[in-house]
Symmetry: C2
Subunit: 223 residues, 2 copies
Amino acid sequence: MIYRAVRKVSTAVRPGKKRASGPAQDSREEILAVATQEFAQRGLSGARVDEIAARTRTSKRMIYYYFSGKEGLYRAVLERVYSEIRQVESQLDLDGLAPQAAIARIVELTFDYDESHPEFITLVNVENINRGKSIGKLSSVHKRYAHILSVMARVLERGVASGVFRPDVTPIDVRLVIAALCYFRVSNRYTFGALFDCNLAEPAVRARHRRMIVDAVQRFLKV
Amino acid sequence: MIYRAVRKVSTAVRPGKKRASGPAQDSREEILAVATQEFAQRGLSGARVDEIAARTRTSKRMIYYYFSGKEGLYRAVLERVYSEIRQVESQLDLDGLAPQAAIARIVELTFDYDESHPEFITLVNVENINRGKSIGKLSSVHKRYAHILSVMARVLERGVASGVFRPDVTPIDVRLVIAALCYFRVSNRYTFGALFDCNLAEPAVRARHRRMIVDAVQRFLKV
DNA sequence: GTTCATATTAACTAACAAGTGCGTTCACAG
DNA sequence: CTGTGAACGCACTTGTTAGTTAATATGAAC
């Protein structure tokens, strides 16, 4: 009863194209949001479809209706988180910046995104444990990342041309170094924390590492 | 019938202390080896106790006999892989080397170990998805890692004293940078490979990255 | 107001997977 | 021999879990 009212409101707020696709989209989105949490928290085989359903306002049957199964739901979740980070990264505007400053911006964006989206990191981990079986099937992911590499390539070229960057690293190399340094802190926070008895999430440590990683990448690129 | 014969042979080869503990140890070890593979391949909740049992020469009942459950088995597997890498790392002898060379050796060891033990990397990933619930309970892990940090600290001190290393990085920082760069290539090989359409396992790429990471860490430490 | 596609619910099932009860075998001590 | 305890296998229980069946509601369009 109550949720009907809610859904009518949301239909009014966001009208569908033809028919009342508002409620449907809400259900879809709600399922995806809950599933993202659940898959990130428990992994692919650890996540429970019933649990996901219970935590939405819809039913389990709807998950099968929209996503045709656990696998399909997982794939949709992956696609969603990758499309979000792609969008964030594509908003970078580096053209006015000097090469070193541009690199700093890229590192800071990556660092901040990873730190504030641990569920994204975990999902990527899940997919790697899964041997990339699902990401390979996502047509949307593949092409878009070429764009990011080309942005990186332009920055590197400018840096090399002005004599501040060395010429023997590829965009993929730089991307790997940046990703590795930012990703690991979040990805391995539990094991690294336990092994070395430290808390990487502490604000002071985090801020210091942010500066440190920016610096490390700049040193890496210096002639 | 056949396996009895096999076990008698192995008993003869490796006699137990009092009773015939040879076969027992063999069973334990065999279970652990299979379970390591299985947990690394399918994750904690994805691994099947029945499957592990089927792939050993013993039965499922023995897994419960020795490890008291899936959880206990997983913990034993974690302990085993961590103790192995600890052993490898403790064999490092750096005292004769100049600081930069010592750092190079540490990086190369980490790189080579990670590359040749992807199942270790995956298990660490699994444990992080698991929020470190098990590694916290492993008393054996915690203390031993202090030793590795102290080795690192000595190298850094020597480097700082001789003016080749900057003084503002801690052993944990260096450890983090090295681990991140080596770990990520293996941990994220599937997603990174799919996104950027490259194969990090290719020998040429691997060799180049090995040199590149050694160089990156040395640049990171340079005054 | 009938039609039709979309959206939704409740109850069901078939398979699976963790964990156990219980009996057996084996080596050796007495 | 025989008693004992560790090492082992078989078959079972019990709860869970992905996925389904079938019936129904909704609302736009005609």
